[in-house]
């Protein structure tokens, strides 16, 4: 997973040297921007309906970091009923829930259901 986008390239030939030479930064590396922790970050494909409220659609790519702990309203991938599913993590008082639309699962009451990783970015093709 290595993708470098050339940000600026120039070659000094004869003639006036490029005045921008001093401003050349390194290439933009989308990987380093999107992936903070390489060994714990997975790309996962979305399948099924869309979660329009948070902008996740069928076929999108999710960047999921397993090393993070979910915060209130984090989008997460969770293990629910023997499947990996996308949910929103919600904290209320001393309880944690997973929600999508009107459905609400109490994590404290269902120990077999757990958060697999925290979604940090979604990549959506237009």
């Amino acid at each position: 997973m290595k993708l470098l986008l050339p940000f600026h390239l120039h070659k000094v030939g004869a003639g006036f040297p490029s005045p921008a030479t001093d401003y050349v930064e390194d290439d933009i590396d989308l990987n380093s921007h999107l992936i903070k922790n390489i060994p714990s970050t997975f790309l996962i494909r979305v399948q099924g309906k869309s979660m329009n409220d948070i902008g996740i659609h069928d076929g999108d790519l999710l960047v999921v970091d397993r090393s993070l702990n979910p915060k209130n309203f984090s989008t997460v991938v969770a293990n629910v009923n023997e499947e990996l599913v996308v949910k929103t993590f919600v904290k209320e008082k001393n309880c944690s829930f997973l929600t999508s639309g009107p459905n609400k699962i109490n994590l404290t009451e269902n120990p077999e259901i757990f958060v697999w990783g925290v979604v940090t970015y979604t990549i959506h093709a237009l």
Binding site: V46, R66, V85
Partner: protein, 426 residues
């Protein structure tokens, strides 16, 4: 050999292939699961539940089919693309804790923890175990000892403990624990040595530790006395943080179905040659000798077993795919016999050396050689960019009917855009 204050931890992933399959398939958590070797032949990884059913490591699939059916055991073919990527993630995670490490196999690594205080060792290893599980989803067991062999022994015990971590350095019961390890489960003791030791009354790791040194030296080889010394806490094998360059390169596959024709064998030998040549070019190596081997299934011993191999010493060291294929195919023709059902074919490149030792041969035209080098570079570049086998040579065939059978593969690859794991929105 010095008495040392080394602290070595062996981290070993539990049922690694099964754990990889479970990572993206929660439906098989807590169920008996096994992974089969290429061509779905033998059991090579078992979940704890499958072990409890009495399924043995290495057993042929047909022998356990009954247990599998009766207990609804989940079966998987190997998916090495996935296991390789998860392994790299585990190793990268470990490296953050301990830059001094030796990757010992796809699912094991030795860590040098000499800088950690004795009293902090256990806590440190629990933290490693917890982090690897959280980051990569892979459960591990950790054994700590003052030598590699002791850390292996500790790991063996850790696998059976609920805590999953055993420290032999601070343990007062080290001899008691070693006497629970059977001699054949000691690192470095193979089948022949086991027979010999048992005949001489050495049945456990503890027995070997206590045996007279001169007796071992007299009766076994250098590896035998090394193992005994290491069990006593004298380090004889240091950590190898850097990968050593390989001396041999073997590529072989079992066929998905029995192959009888020379053409099909040629296709497979050609493909193996191309794979091997690409590997050694990547390591900037050249080869001196090529061996081709073919065989029928060993289970056909009675009526129709045939196995043969042929070495060819190359006139000039090379890593040129076309030259290697030419030599390999001529070797194959020598050993091919009609009327057999072949199950496996492979090649071994041996006498590998760095390219700069490449001697210009008196009889080779230099011009031609440079052209060939450029051609190989172009092939490798194309294949890295556009995927394996995008550019190949015609002998490798296009349909590859003989290719391996992996009918129960999970077909997930965390490092390939088209095969990424899936999460659903419901």
């Amino acid at each position: 050999m010095l008495y040392n204050k080394n602290k070595i931890a062996l981290v070993d992933c539990n049922s690694f292939y099964v754990s990889c399959e479970r990572l993206f398939n929660p439906s098989i958590n807590k169920k008996p699961v096994v992974v089969l070797s290429s061509n779905d032949g033998c059991v090579i990884s078992r979940s704890a539940e499958a072990k409890n059913l009495g399924i043995k490591m290495g057993e042929p699939y047909f022998k356990v089919k009954k247990i599998v059916k009766e207990n609804d055991v989940k079966i998987f073919s190997t998916n090495f693309a996935l296991y390789g990527d998860i392994s790299r993630r585990v190793m990268k995670t470990l490296k953050q804790f301990c830059p001094q490490m030796e990757i010992y196999s796809i699912d094991e690594a030795f860590l040098d923890l000499s800088s950690v205080k004795n009293e902090d060792l256990l806590e440190h290893c629990y933290k490693i175990k917890k982090t690897v599980l959280k980051w990569t989803g892979i459960p591990t067991s950790i054994g700590i000892g003052s030598t590699k062999t002791l850390s292996k022994a500790a790991n063996y015990i850790a696998k059976k403990e609920k805590s999953g971590v055993i420290d032999l350095i601070n343990s007062k019961k080290i001899d008691e624990l070693l006497s629970k390890i059977k001699i054949n489960d000691v690192w470095g003791v193979g089948r022949q040595l086991t027979k010999f030791y048992i005949k001489n009354g050495i049945n456990t790791a503890y027995d070997l530790k206590k045996i007279n040194n001169s007796w071992i030296k007299k009766n076994t080889n250098v590896f035998g006395s090394r193992t005994a010394m290491e069990l006593r806490g004298f380090s004889c094998a240091s950590l190898k943080p850097y990968e050593e360059k390989r001396k041999n390169c073997c590529v072989s596959r079992s066929f998905g179905r029995k192959v009888t024709k020379l053409e099909e064998l040629s296709e497979s030998v050609t493909t193996h040659c191309l794979n091997a040549a690409e590997k050694i070019r990547l390591d900037k190596q050249t080869v001196k000798k090529i061996t081709v081997f073919i065989r029928t299934s060993p289970f056909q011993m009675k009526n129709n077993y045939y196995a043969n191999s042929k070495d060819i010493d190359l006139p000039i060291r090379t890593n040129d795919s076309i030259e290697l294929v030419k030599q390999a195919l001529s070797a194959l023709k020598c050993i091919y016999r009609q009327g057999y059902k072949y199950q496996k074919a492979g090649i071994i490149l041996s006498g590998l050396n760095d390219v700069d030792v490449y001697k210009k041969n008196l009889f080779s035209s230099i011009n031609n050689e440079e052209k060939r080098t450029r051609l190989m570079k172009a092939i490798d570049y194309t294949n890295i960019k556009y995927g394996r086998h995008a550019l190949s040579i015609a002998q490798a065939g296009l349909r590859k009917k003989w290719n391996i059978k992996r009918q129960y593969s999970s077909k997930i690859d965390t490092a390939c855009m088209n095969l990424l794991p899936v999460a659903k929105i419901s």
